[in-house]
Symmetry: C2
Subunit: 479 residues, 2 copies
């Protein structure tokens, strides 16, 4: 829809502007909606989300998590049930006060997340151990009054997501559910070809009303990190105020143990800021809506043979089960190259008269720009090429992460490292006071948490107070 193509700045000149250019000109999202902070997710962006959705929904069903739908408004009286949780969100909510031309008797909060309304229903549904586990997910939209709305996808006032909420008979079952959710998200990150740090958040920044939270933090090219899906072990923080109890096999009443976890369209921002280059986005083959774009190179008098071959190639590639698109629109080849590079399609096939004569096609890799010739009879090789690109991106991501974690032994070193950004690894005594001071001394770089997969032994004293350290923590500036 926009012909003003091409990214106007390089990443190192102005990363923010680069990102805005990519998402807008690549038609991922449009910020020009008539309401501030509420962006329009465009078909290209939404199609990537649909690939994530499809994969994630399949995993949900494999784990016997059922989809359902709950009301988008939460009446005020309900909110009062769980103050601890809701106070974390109250400042962020939009409130409906009128309907049908009249003032409402009770204020309705537009859901910033659905714990409150779902757990009210859970208290009606759960009676016996036979009703457990109860595992329900919603694909819906949530709305929060975020005051920083300059980064589309990453921050905005409305986002589309999946929110799963489970109830279990025992703490162990709930913890096992958290582990399973982390496993599902790990699959999504493989699909995104991103190596995240999977982190247990410190108490101070745990989700409102949770025992502990596990998050996926991705390092972006500007040195900041972005949080992706969160998985929250809610313990009995909700089951007690909401009175969600079940009769166990001994006919004794017990409160359930709960978890909640979700993944959102935020992933699209993470994806672009992590993989993109100066030409635009780079999409991993597993989630690119178009994996192979075919661009016919037209020369006068040769149009029909070129188009014929291009169609043949498209058919053959689609038969391999791949997502191919023949771009025969009325634009120049150069314009199309730019557009598909900007949009991030991992593989481009060019077919010109010379290729037709040679019974071959030219294949261009979006990641390293390498060109290969493939015979029309060997098009099955495309599948391998796409797998290679997926691996290439994941390796790059792993390398980027491992090269950008630096150990900080003292506060001076931490302060200096923080100027540059990226990950810092340091020892921490566990005191809230030290956590706060680190953040203020390091220009906003904060303790993101400890590793989820393995407990690490401190390699020195607390980076701030120099007392004995309890944890090895990862520190970064975050979006």
């Amino acid at each position: 829809m926009s012909e003003d193509l091409g990214v106007s700045v390089k990443r190192e000149e102005d990363f923010s502007k680069w990102y805005l250019d990519v998402v807008r000109k690549g038609n991922f999202i449009d910020q020009r909606s008539p309401i501030k902070g509420f962006d329009v997710i465009l078909p290209w962006g939404y199609a990537i989300w649909e690939e994530i959705q499809k994969r994630f929904d399949t995993m949900l069903k494999e784990h016997d998590v059922k989809n359902a739908y709950f009301p988008m408004f939460i009446p005020e009286h309900l909110i009062k049930k769980e103050e601890e949780h809701f106070k974390g969100f109250k400042a962020e909510t939009f409130v409906v006060t009128e309907a049908g031309g009249e003032k409402l008797d009770e204020r309705l909060y537009v859901r910033p997340t659905s714990e409150t309304i779902m757990y009210y229903m859970y208290s009606l549904w759960i009676r016996s151990y036979k009703d457990l586990p109860l595992k329900i997910n919603q694909w819906n939209n949530v709305i929060r009054f975020d005051t920083k709305v300059t980064k589309p996808f990453l921050r905005g006032r409305e986002f589309v997501w999946s929110e799963a909420h489970t109830a279990h008979a025992t703490r162990e079952d709930a913890v096992e559910m958290v582990n399973q959710a982390v496993g599902m998200y790990s699959e999504i990150y493989k699909m995104m070809a991103i190596e995240p740090l999977i982190i247990v958040r410190p108490q101070s920044d745990t989700f409102a009303g949770a025992d502990f939270s596990v998050v996926f933090d991705t390092l972006l090219q500007d040195g900041k990190v972005a949080q992706g899906p969160g998985t929250h072990m809610l313990g009995q923080h909700f089951s007690k105020p909401f009175n969600i109890q079940y009769l166990d096999k001994q006919e004794k009443k017990q409160y359930v143990w709960q978890t909640s976890w979700g993944i959102s369209t935020r992933q699209l921002g993470i994806l672009i800021m992590h993989h993109g280059d100066d030409k635009g986005a780079i999409l991993p083959p597993e989630l690119s809506p178009i994996q192979v774009v075919i661009v016919p190179i037209m020369f006068k008098g040769k149009e029909s043979v070129v188009i014929e071959k291009a169609k043949e190639a498209e058919d053959k590639i689609k038969k391999l089960g791949l997502r191919a698109y023949l771009d025969d629109r009325d634009y120049t080849a150069g314009f199309k190259f730019n557009e598909w590079e900007l949009k991030g399609v991992p593989l481009r096939i060019e077919i010109g008269p010379r290729d037709v004569e040679g019974k071959e096609v030219t294949v261009v890799n979006r990641v390293d720009n390498s060109k290969t010739k493939i015979k029309m009879t060997d098009l099955q090789e495309i599948t391998n090429l796409l797998n290679e690109i997926q691996g290439q991106l994941l390796n790059k991501s792993r390398k980027f992460l491992s090269e950008n974690i630096t150990d900080a032994k003292g506060l001076d070193q931490l302060r200096n490292l923080a100027k540059k950004g990226f990950w810092m690894r340091a020892n921490w005594c566990g005191a809230d006071e030290c956590e706060k001071n680190i953040k203020s001394e390091c220009g906003g770089a904060e303790i993101r948490g400890t590793l989820y997969k393995k407990e690490e032994t401190p390699f020195g004293k607390c980076v701030y107070c120099n007392k004995d350290a309890k944890h090895v923590v990862y520190i970064a500036k975050a979006y």
Copy 2:
């Protein structure tokens, strides 16, 4: 979750109560949410919706309609652009007036439908004939202040739906899109095994801002009809106020022609009230989340051989590509029979010790309760049985429709027929006055419109004023 199974009344005793029993006890929907008129769609109900979604989404993609996502709030200044359309919705909207603890400068309307916000964006995107057609769909939720909220699914304040909005270069292209949408909905109705009347609505009841609307009306067992998906030919009613123009090949500015169309969770209510019997819902195999439920009949000492065979049957049936579920929960067989009948699963397989000995299973058809024995080696016959049930339901639906359309020649006859309900066919002069009088004289039965597929020649004078008739119209009471 509820053990209080069984429908408490027969359809003919109290159809409304029967319906409420089925949807609640069958766990399709729960009306006990803490906010009136906003129901919770339960996993079983939502899974049916997902089958509809999946099929419809595939068709959208085949027609090159792309999914996207637009903000859920519409700022007040935008609404003023298209008064004609919005006045039809204004009395129905919920209004956000506060956010982040403060009063907002501008009131935000929660979308009752998305024409306004989408077409604002269309005006930014569409520049040239190359941008057309533009075909975008959203899967989202909409909210309307409906004052009658006693019929879950059919009427409620929030529903989940698909809304497609297209823009075209010419009127012909837009009309063709309407025809294609009607074609897609016809496929969904086949899947639902329902024979609808496809009707062009009279001007008085056309969607606000449309040239004409085509709707699918389904006759329910209580003699009322329920409107399903609507397809609206919007003409240039929106492109003019929203200034959606394109440059044609002659570089002349033209307004686009538009259509909008949607299908919602309303279909679930239609489905149940159309097909159900005194035992509960009956789901057509094509959209039942479970097509075959396998219930092991346990006898002491025989449990393990029965369960083993049941698992073998489940595996074999799943390998046929069918949705099978082995119900090995800790409940009695009788309880399970009732529950799955209530939920409407089209085919039940019973396996008891005698079946194991005979190397066969007992298969029970939900529609006519007929029982068949099938050899374990012949389980592929299940596919045919399901196809038969699909056909059986569709034939029943066709018969029900054709037997319940009665021609009314004069007003007295119409009045009498209207007492009973069901479809009436009559001649109409086309005057608004007569339309209004028919409704008030016939206890609310109203002109629903004329047939979409074929123009019918009047078979007499206008049923109300006795002047020359222009149309053959279909009259019924509607939900």
